[in-house]
Structures are given as C-alpha cells and as structure tokens.
C-alpha cells in the first residue's frame, strides 16, 4: 500500500460522500469537502512525485484483478514514474483550483451535490487512467472519464442542447473505448501481457509482428483521437461547451482531452518500433498538424467565447500529437502541462466574464470589461499571451519545444510540418487577440449591470496566472525526463540557441496579435467576410456528416421500434410466458402436499437412479467383455 493510492481514493471518497450526504452537509460544506478531497489528492500526488525523483520509478500493486489464462499483468496496480507523477500533479493541482472556482461559480445551483460528486468522480477516473500500470485498468479509467464527462456536460438536464451534447460526447468516446478494447485484445493475445513495462519492453516488441504493431497502434490511435478530439473524431468537443464553464475548464485543461496524448506518450516504444511504427508516427504527425491548422481556422470564424477556446484546445492538442508523431514526447508532455495551466486560466476567466454578463457568451456583445474588472483582464491577458506563444510565458517555451523538435531532423516533410505549426501559431495569436480585444478593450456593446466575481472565484485565477508565467522554468528538465522515459534513450544535450526559428515563431505571434489589435480595437466583429465563414468552419462539416449517418440509423431504429419491436417484445414474451405457466401448473399439481406421496417420490427416484446406473454399468461391463 502506497500513498499513490490516496490520489485515487480521496476523490472517490469525496464523490461518494458528496452524492450521499450533500443534504446534511449543505452547499458550502459540500463544495469544501470536494475541494479538500482534491487538495489531499494533490498532496499525495506531490509526495509521489518527490518519491519518484528521489528513489526512481516503482510499481505499487494493490491486488490481483483477473486471472486470464495466457495473459498476465491484469492487476490493480499503479505505475509511478516521472510521466505519471507529473500528470498526477497537473491533474489534481489544476482540478483543485477549478473545484475552488466552482464553489463560487455554482453557488446559485440547486443540484450542487450531483455537481461536486461528478466533478470528483471525473478527477478520480482520470487519476485511475494515469496511474494504471496496465491497459485493462487504464480502460476502467478511460471509460470512467467518458461517463463522468457525460454526466457533467449534460449537467443542465432540462436543456435539450446540453443533453444531446452529452450524448454525442459519450457516443464518440465509446468509439474510443471500443478501439481501446480491441487494442487490449490484440496486445493481450499476441504478447500475453497488458502491463506497460512488460509489453512495451524491447523483448516483447521484437516478438510482435509488423501487422500486430500496426493493428495495435491503429487501435490505440483511434482511442486517443476520440478522447483528445482529433480529426475526424473531434465533433463532440465544441458541443461540450454546453456544460457549466468549470466543467469545460476541467475537460480542456486537466482531466479528459489530455488522456489521448498521455496514451501516445505512454505507448511511445510501440510506435518507435520497426517500419510500421514509423509509418504510424508519420500519420500521427501529419494528422496532428492538420488538426492544429483546421481547428485554428475554425476558431477564427467563431463568435462564441467558449467555442473559440474549445477550438483552440483542439488546435493545441494537434500540436501535441504532432510532437508525439515526430518523436518529441517530452515536448508533447511539456505542452500538455503548460496548456493545462493557461487553458484552465482562460476558461475560468471566460467563466467570470460570462458570469458577470449574466450568461452572455457572444464576444460581439461584450467589450469594455477591462476597466471594470482589471484583475480579470490581466488574468485573461496572461492566458492569451501564453496561448499566443509570447515569451517569457510558459506557452512560448512549450510550443517552441514542439516546433524545434519538429524542425530538428531537417528533412522536407518536417520543415513543412514546422511551417504549418508557424502558420497555426499566427492564427492562434490572431484569434486569441481578437477574443481579448473584443471582450476587454473594444467599446462596450452591452448595457446590463455587471455581476462581479467573489474572491473564491478570483484567487484560483491568480494562482493559475502565476503558474502560466513561471512554469516555463521547469520545462527543460521535464522535457528531457519524459523523453528519456519514452524512448529509453538518454537525451542528447541540445544547445539552446536563440536563433532564427525562435524569432520566426515570436514574430508570427506578434503579427497575429497586432492584426487582432488594429482591426478589432474599434469593436469591429470580424475580419472574415461572411461568405468565407463556411469555408473556415470546414471541419464542422464532419459533424453534419455524422449527423446524417446518425439520422439514418435513427430512422432504422424508429422503424424497428414501431414495426418489429412490438412483435418481439410483447407477443413473443406472452407466448413464452403462457407456455411456461402451462408447464408449471402441471408441475404444481404434483406438489400436492401429501407426505406419503413425497416419501414414495424419494424412494422411487433413488431406486430408479440406482437401477439406471446399475444398468449402464452392467451394459458397459458386458460390452467390455
């Protein structure tokens, strides 16, 4: 028993208590309990981190889970290494701040018990996902995250759009779950172990044929793409904005979409093995770059503050997958951590803004908030600059690590990917700047009385702002640590030169911000002509495609429900029931209650059985002779 299990147990316990005792606890105490549970988990995660860095990686086994012949390592066991320890600290730390923020944000809600219970469960399942030392246990967390996000996205269950968004997120996540199961079947049957340290070891990888690596890798990638909202399985993410804003912050920053990146980095040795693995990595890098660019274009055309941020998440995740695809695993995780900080900051600030404007989410109807809420403005500015990749904020260092890692090997394709990355950075800076300028600087386009945030909502912003400024310092060490873990190779000492590449990236960011400032400072809503909007929103067309497919399934299901089902579900059971009851009334007649009859039945049955067995016996003896 190790304290790493506390990281899982505390949120689970919090979830249980919040769901059963919220009436007795009352509103404030429920939120406090949920937050404290996460704080405790963060403490345990930090302790794990220090232990890993003091004494090296270790596995802590709680119990054996399943005995499957031929497959080992299906245990309730946790793997603590620099990667999982970093992830645990990030998840619980950011989640703690979001919990504290929610106590203020959700103070008007009636259903706080359900909210905090689901929030804690969300963290618990994500923690399970991260600390699992085998794919089967990871799948439990993987599916659990999907369920918890479903219940939180659909938190406003009176709202049809929220319910359908929740259903969509769940369905697409199930696609990922199924892919994950197939990956488990393939790896379990071919390698005979689901434990990361075992099936990702060089010996097991050498035993796997190229086809196995290809099949397992593709399944893992589909799973990761569904969870991390990568093309073409991204459509649930923008809709997930229907949930309360703290939930969006949690989904985007800490608990959900990062799971796919984590999985890719965790399984890096599989992708780094053989020509098939290399092919998959090329696909991963290309798809990542395309997702980054397409999502950035979508964000440019959006007017809803939360949807802009949603597409920016998708775009940044594209960066991370690109990094994983080119083998810059350390950079991917570094960007994941830094993104967790500044995206949580941005979402929570957006939450404050929306809260202040009584639920208004359209940036065309905002403006002039800078003077009224200077602190919030500063927080959003820090987040926006970090997202735009302006030094010395953390976003610059992590994005730089990715772009550098992409450019490093210098072939044509890598340079092209780098170019896409720079273009995306330019767009990112532009749409972030636009959102910032239209919300805070441009003249006010609303008249309502502002609903100013309380201190419980602002201090998490301050902490996240500081993290977004300062976390860049720890980047170098994190990158090399994760990189050596993922590739089993010592990291070559790179020369941190401040050269043309960095200057290009900074310039791209500055140009983007400059364009945004000059064109929107007067309150002009969009640079994009209306006719171009559908083009920019091209990636949303996949949504309509899936809607069409879903529609045809639906009409088929309707047909079955109206025509076929009544026959199967009503008449057939009636028939079965009638025949069963007929037989049983016969049987019950035998049960007359007469003692003599019972005694005769016992005697007769045993005699019959004895005769029967004796007859069989003598028959077989006779046959033998």
């Amino acid at each position: 028993m190790d304290f790493i299990w506390l990281v899982l147990a505390l949120p689970l316990l919090g979830s249980l208590l919040c769901s059963t005792h919220y009436r007795a606890l009352g509103k404030a105490a429920t939120g406090m309990l949920a937050s404290l549970a996460i704080l405790g988990a963060f403490g345990a995660a930090a302790a794990t981190w220090f232990r890993v860095h003091a004494a090296g990686s270790y596995t802590s086994q709680l119990a054996t889970w399943l005995h499957i012949p031929g497959v080992s390592g299906v245990d309730v066991a946790a793997l603590a290494d620099p990667l999982s320890a970093t992830m645990l600290c990030t998840v619980t730390g950011v989640a703690f701040l979001i919990h504290c923020f929610s106590m203020g944000y959700m103070s008007d809600e009636e259903d706080y018990g359900r909210f905090f219970a689901s929030l804690n469960l969300f963290v618990a399942t994500m923690v399970l996902l991260v600390m699992a030392n085998n794919l089967a246990l990871l799948l439990v967390g993987w599916g659990g995250v999907g369920y918890a996000s479903y219940s939180l996205i659909g938190f406003y269950r009176q709202k049809p759009s929220a319910v359908s968004a929740a259903r969509k997120a769940f369905l697409i996540n199930v696609v990922g779950d199924v892919a994950m199961m197939f990956a488990i079947f393939i790896i379990g049957s071919r390698v005979g172990s689901l434990e990361f340290t075992s099936f990702l070891g060089p010996a097991s990888l050498d035993r796997m044929s190229g086809e196995t690596i290809l099949a397992a890798g593709v399944c893992l990638m589909i799973a990761a793409y569904a969870k991390s909202a990568q093309l073409p399985l991204h459509t649930w993410l923008p809709d997930a904005m229907e949930g309360p804003t703290p939930v969006s912050a949690l989904i985007h920053a800490a608990t959900m979409v990062t799971a796919g990146v984590y999985l890719m980095v965790r399984c890096a040795p599989l992708f780094g093995h053989g020509p098939e693995g290399a092919d998959l990595m090329v696909i991963m890098a290309r798809l990542g770059a395309i997702t980054a660019l397409v999502a950035a274009l979508c964000a440019v055309a959006q007017n809803d503050l939360k949807r802009i941020l949603a597409y920016s998440t998708m775009s940044q995740l594209g960066y991370m997958f690109m990094a994983a695809g080119v083998g810059a695993y350390g950079a991917a995780i570094f960007h994941l951590v830094s993104h967790a900080f500044f995206k949580a900051l941005l979402f929570l600030t957006a939450g404050v803004v929306i809260h202040a404007l009584h639920g208004e989410q359209d940036i065309r109807k905002m403006g002039g908030l800078g003077k009224k809420m200077p602190g919030v403005q500063l927080a959003f500015l820090i987040g926006a600059l970090a997202l735009a990749g302006i030094p010395p904020l953390v976003g610059f260092w992590s994005k730089e690590a990715i772009l550098l890692g992409t450019f490093q090997d210098g072939n044509m394709e890598r340079q092209l990917l780098w170019g896409v990355g720079i273009l995306t950075a330019l767009l990112t800076a532009y749409y972030t700047g636009r959102a910032y300028v239209l919300t805070f600087w441009a003249p006010a386009r609303h008249e309502s009385e502002l609903h100013l945030p309380g201190s419980s909502m602002t201090w998490p912003l301050a902490v996240l702002s500081m993290a977004s400024v300062a976390a860049g310092l720890a980047g170098h060490e994190l990158v090399s640590e994760v990189q050596s873990l993922a590739t089993h190779l010592p990291v070559a000492e790179t020369h941190e030169t401040f050269g043309a590449l960095q200057i290009t990236a900074i310039l791209a960011g500055l140009i983007g911000l400059g364009v945004a400032y000059s064109s929107h400072k007067t309150g002009r809503a969009s640079l994009v002509p209306d006719s171009a909007v559908p083009v920019l929103l091209g990636c949303e067309s996949i949504d309509s495609l899936s809607k069409g497919a879903a529609g045809s399934f639906r009409s088929f299901a309707d047909m079955v429900a109206v025509k076929v089902d009544p026959v199967i579900s009503q008449q057939a059971p009636d028939l079965i029931q009638r025949s069963l009851y007929g037989t049983s009334s016969l049987l019950c007649q035998l049960q007359g209650g007469s003692l003599r009859l019972y005694a005769v039945a016992v005697l007769a049955s045993s005699t019959l059985l004895a005769l029967f067995v004796y007859g069989l016996f003598s028959l077989s003896i006779g046959a033998g002779q």
């Binding site: 009851y581 049983s584 016992v602 045993s606 067995v613 077989s620």
Partner: protein
C-alpha cells in the same frame, strides 16, 4: 502428538460445542431471558467464526495431530474455508432470528441451542474422514433442523413442516445408511482414504460400490433439495418459521455441497476423476441438475406465496450447482471446483439475505403473499435494498456476485466441453428473472396500502430494527457487490480449489 494443537485446530467446533452446552445450562439454571441467551449464542458463534477465519488465514503446517483424530477428521484449506463460510452464515442467521420467538414461544432458549448443535454437526460433516462419523454428524446436523422447523408447536403449518421434514429426512437417512453399508460391503472400509486405496487395487470396480455411492448421493441430494428429492422443500420452507428457513436455506446447503466435493473428488479419488467407473456420471449429474432447474424455476412462476417462491428458487439454484458438479468430472477440474465453491458461497449469502428480510418482516405481520411486500421501499428502504440486491444477485444481474458466480460456473462448464449445459443454465436464468422480478415489483413498484406506516410501527416490533440486524443487512447487501467485484475473493477460492485434488 500434541493435544494443545488439537485444541487450536478445532477451536471453532469446540467453541460451538461449549456455547451450545452453555446455552442449555444457562437456560435451565441461570436466566431464562431470551435476549441474554441470544447474546451468548451470538457471541459464541461470532468467536467461532473469527477463529475459523484465523485458522484459514494462518494454516499451521507440520502440526502433528493425534492419529486418533487425523484418522476421522481432516484439516485442509477446503475444510477450513468451508467452516468459515458455514459459521459466518450461521452467525448471520442467528442475528436475523433475534426477537423472532420471544413473544410467541415460551422456550426461546432451546432455539439457540438447537441451532448451535446443528452447526456443530455441519462443521463435523465438513471435516469427517470416515463415513460412520459423517453419518453421525449428518444426523447431528439434521435432527435439530427437524425440531426447528416445527418449533412453533401450536402453529399447524409449522408442526406439519416439522413432521414432513422429519419423516422424509428419516427415509433419506435410511437410504444413505443403506448406501454406506453397500460401500462397506464391497470395499471393506468406511474410512475414506482406505476406501480410495482399496478402490485403486481392485481389478474391476465392484457394482455394489456404485449402488452405495448412488444411495449416499440420494441422501445428500435430499438434504440440498435437488430434484427429484426436492418434494419436501416447498412445504417445509413455507411452513417453518421464516427465521428457521433463513438458516435452513444457507448453512446446511453449503455444508453438504462441500461434503459432496470432498466425498466424490477429494477422498475417493486423488486424480479428480469421478472414479474410473465406466458409467456416465456427467449424465447423471446433468439429469439431477436439469431436473432441479426446470422444476424449481417453472414451479416458482405461478406462486403467490413469497416463501414458496424462495423455496423453489432454492431448488433451481442447487440445480446450477449440480451443473457445476457435472463439469467437475474431467481431468482438470480445478476451474470447475472453484466455480462451484464460489457459486455456493455466493448463493448461501444471497439466499440468506433474501430470507432474512422475510424473517424480520414476519415479526410485524403474519402473511407472506406478494402483496405483503407492497411498498417495502417506503416502509424500510434498507430492507428493500437488501432484498433487491440479493434477488438480483440470485437472478444473475451484472455486476453482482451472482452474475460473476454464474459467469465462472458457465465458463467452467463450457471449458469442460459441455456447451449444451451452458445453454440449459442460461435458459433457466432467463426463466428465473420472471419470478425474481415479480417479488421486486411488489417491493418497489407497488405503493403501500397505508402509505407505509404498517410495518415496524407495530408495538411488538419496536420502533426500528436492532443495530446488529441493521449491520447484518448491510453486510448481506454489500457482499452482493463486493464478492462480485473484489478480485481477491475469486483468487482465494481458486487457491482453495487447487488444493482439493492434492491428495486427501
């Protein structure tokens, strides 16, 4: 030879024996207050249970017991784990019978001593190495049960149940004794290891031995109410006081299933084959199993009396266990053993929980038709939840323990090459859903007649259930979840099962 080891190894039996005698004496000379007697009985059984758990956890290898003891009593992981389960179930049954008889019967103290003697008989049954000792302890297990079934002497249904059970039980005991004499006559011993050794050296298997085994199996089958020896069960279960049925439906069944495993697989033949006789034992067990499942499930369907539904469900559940026993007859029966053991344990606890609800309800009302459960979820949510989880577990609803039990059972049967039996089992599970959910429908979906004030408001029942019963209900309720999901349990069962064929 060391007598102190003997004391340690048989702590549970001695604790039960001492408590039983103590309860009788206390009833006679010290205090006739029923709750005091109940407390003594409970503490004795609880101590025995803890002792059994400890003995199971900390086996003492290399302990030399006196030969006179090892000749007749076996101590192995199987026996100690079974003893623990039986004692746990008995303790719970005693907890649930608290206050059941105080108002109506003058001799409540006898109830506790009878249960304790029956438990002692069960414990000795599990361990016995000799058929004569087995028969005596089997009678020690059975005789108190006959009396317990007729415990409410002035209630005609209870008296009838006692008499029916006794007469039929005497008949089955006679059959069994007759079978033992056939076995002795053909192989010259009643000592199980000697029998196995003699059996190994005879040139061709004696047919008398075969008939003897079959008669013994009939006697055992009568006790667990497997069809066609089940006829007593519905009448006895519905006539006996529900508190007695709670005990009757759990601990003795686990005992007998354990002894069947020991008799036919551990002792007679070290290889796990159900003797090398040229007779299709799989077929025999399949007939018994299929008969039980169909008779139990189909007869339960039209019943309106909840006790009869439970009685028939018990017959059907034994059918599943016999299906598992049929699958034990192959060269690698470990998986089937562990499935049977696990399913038996799960069945014991779930069945006990379901009956216990009736036993507690019986204190406030004298009717047991489906309508008497109306609105139970309003009247007492904890009781309703316990009933619901236990019945769903018996029906095999995932992810409860009964589902996992059926899953392991059917997997073992399938892997023994008997897919047809799996189909039979699943078919019967489906049928059983009908009546299990009929009970749940009454408890959950029909509103109480008077808004839920009737039960537990009656002066005789007191304002609420006693704390210890509430805890016991929680234990039953959660065991349905935990046994199914906590992986260490099946691991332990597999470990126990793997020791069965390692010699006797």
């Amino acid at each position: 030879m060391n007598w102190s080891h003997l004391l340690v190894q048989f702590t549970p039996e001695l604790a039960v024996l001492v408590t039983a005698v103590w309860v009788i004496l206390s009833d006679l000379f010290l205090s006739r207050h029923p709750s005091g007697l109940w407390r003594q009985c409970f503490l004795g059984l609880a101590a025995a249970t803890i002792g059994a758990a400890f003995l199971y956890q900390v086996p003492t290898p290399g302990v030399e017991l006196p030969a006179i003891i090892t000749r007749v009593l076996l101590v192995s992981p199987l026996t100690s784990s079974l003893k623990f389960v039986v004692l746990l179930l008995s303790t719970l049954a005693v907890v649930f019978s608290y206050r059941s008889f105080e108002e109506t019967e003058r001799h409540a103290g006898e109830y506790y001593s009878l249960i304790l003697f029956s438990v002692l008989g069960g414990l000795l049954c599990i361990s016995s190495q000799d058929l004569v000792l087995f028969f005596i302890s089997f009678e020690l297990l059975s005789l108190p049960l006959y009396m317990l079934c007729g415990f409410r002497r002035y209630n005609s249904a209870s008296a009838e149940a006692g008499l029916k059970y006794f007469v039929n039980g005497a008949l089955s005991s006679a059959l069994m004794l007759y079978g033992i004499s056939w076995i002795y006559g053909s192989l010259g011993s009643t000592h199980l290891p000697t029998l196995a050794a003699n059996y190994a050296v005879v040139p061709s298997p004696p047919s008398g031995f075969l008939v003897g085994c079959l008669l013994v199996l009939s006697g055992l089958g009568f006790k667990v109410a497997v069809a066609p020896f089940h006829t007593w069960a519905p009448d006895v279960y519905s006539g006996a006081p529900p508190a007695v049925s709670t005990f009757l439906a759990s601990a003795p069944k686990v005992t007998i299933v354990g002894f069947i495993l020991r008799l036919f697989w551990q002792s007679l033949d070290g290889t796990g084959q159900f003797f090398n006789l040229p007779v299709d034992w799989v077929f025999l067990f399949t007939v018994l199993a299929a008969g039980s499942m169909f008779v139990g499930n189909l007869s339960a369907l039209p019943q309106q009396d909840v006790r009869k539904i439970f009685a028939y469900s018990g017959i059907a559940q034994i059918g599943y266990i016999f299906l598992g026993l049929a699958a034990c007859n192959n060269p690698h029966p470990q998986q089937s053993f562990s499935a049977v053991l696990f399913y038996t344990t799960v069945y014991g606890i779930s069945n006990l929980g379901a009956w216990a609800v009736l036993a507690v309800l019986a204190r406030g009302q004298e009717r047991f038709d489906l309508d008497s459960l109306r609105g139970l979820h309003q009247r007492n949510p904890a009781l309703a939840a316990c009933l619901a989880l236990c019945l769903m577990s018996l029906a095999g609803v995932p992810p409860l323990s009964g589902f996992m039990g059926k899953f392991y059972l059917f997997r073992a049967i399938y892997e023994s090459g008997l897919p047809f039996l799996v189909v039979l089992g699943i078919l019967n599970s489906v049928i059983s859903l009908f009546y299990y959910f009929k009970v749940l429908k009454a408890a959950y979906f029909v509103e109480a007649e008077d808004g839920g004030t009737s039960f537990l408001q009656a002066p005789s029942a007191g304002p609420a259930l006693p704390m210890v019963q509430q805890l016991a209900f929680q234990l039953c309720l959660w065991s349905n979840v935990v046994l199914g999901l906590w992986p260490a349990v099946i691991g332990e069962v597999e470990r126990v099962a793997s020791t069965i064929t390692q010699g006797s």
